[in-house]
């Protein structure tokens, strides 16, 4: 699913854009959690084509994404990173969005449009 279509589907607003070209990139999977240890455990393969959806809104989300080489992060329920974290985000190289939808709604909408989960990808 193209990043720009993901953004449109959940009516997301950009918080920090590192690379506009990535809006035309095709992402094949998403992982959603407020627990960063779960993200660190589960997103092992193909992080470059996985987006992270979370309701946790602090700099540790950025660190987690950095360790995993994730490019695109979506915050749910309209959450916004504090200004100092957004500055870090710009340096690290992420495209970050926020949507007013809840985690459940965000996942449901994107799953319904064909953006799959990462089930099993961590075991291969």
């Amino acid at each position: 699913m193209l990043a720009k279509d993901i953004v449109q589907a959940i009516q997301a607003e950009p918080l920090s854009i590192w690379n506009n070209n990535l809006l035309n990139k095709d992402y094949s999977m998403a992982f959603a959690s407020d627990l960063m240890s779960d993200a660190l455990a589960m997103i092992q393969n193909y992080p470059e084509s996985t987006i992270l959806i979370t309701g946790l809104c602090n700099s540790q989300v950025l660190r987690t994404a950095e360790m995993l080489d994730i490019e695109m992060i979506i915050f749910v329920r309209g959450k916004k990173l504090p200004e100092e974290s957004l500055e870090i985000a710009a340096e690290m190289g992420f495209n970050i969005f926020t949507t007013e939808y809840t985690m459940y709604e965000t996942c449901g909408i994107l799953f319904g449009k064909g953006l799959g989960g990462i089930r099993g990808s961590h075991t291969s």
Binding site: L35, S37, A41, P47, T54, N58, Q60, R63, E66
Partner: protein
């Protein structure tokens, strides 16, 4: 085996605002010397989880990174206490003694040590009230 690159970093107790910076630097170092991306990711995940553990559980400590002449990478995390009372429990997925502050950061799910063990090629931990030492090794390979 000889060490060809050595770096060390200090971790302060409860320094939540800087948590993750050491792992970021370790990852940058190893990226620069050409470590395979998947190996690098395993190292970054283990280093970050272990660094977070030092911040949220220990009284402070050190992180040592050694690159060996055979291309393997060793990470050592040493703290000054208070130790892990029951190592077997700490290695059980889901078991956690983390504070609410740690949980607010998105950690404390009881997956730290199990995650670290899973992504490491070598894993050794010893603990007493005087401190905990975690030694990890990684083989750089085309995964």
């Amino acid at each position: 085996m000889a060490v060809i690159l050595h770096e060390e970093f200090k971790v302060e107790r409860n320094d939540y605002s800087n948590a993750g910076k050491i792992s970021s630097r370790v990852k940058d170092f190893l990226k620069q010397i050409g470590v395979n991306p998947k190996t690098l990711r395993r190292i970054a995940v283990a280093c970050y989880e272990a660094e977070i553990n030092l911040v949220i559980h220990s009284d402070g400590g050190m992180v040592y990174m050694d690159v060996m002449d055979d291309g393997s990478i060793q990470l050592t995390f040493e703290d000054v206490g208070p130790g892990i009372p029951d190592l077997e429990k700490a290695l059980t997925p889901g078991f956690s003694t983390a504070s609410n502050e740690a949980r607010n950061l998105g950690f404390g799910a009881g997956m730290g040590l199990p995650n670290i063990k899973r992504v490491s090629d070598g894993f050794d931990i010893t603990s007493s009230p005087e401190g905990t030492t975690l030694k990890l090794s990684f083989t750089d390979r085309n995964e």
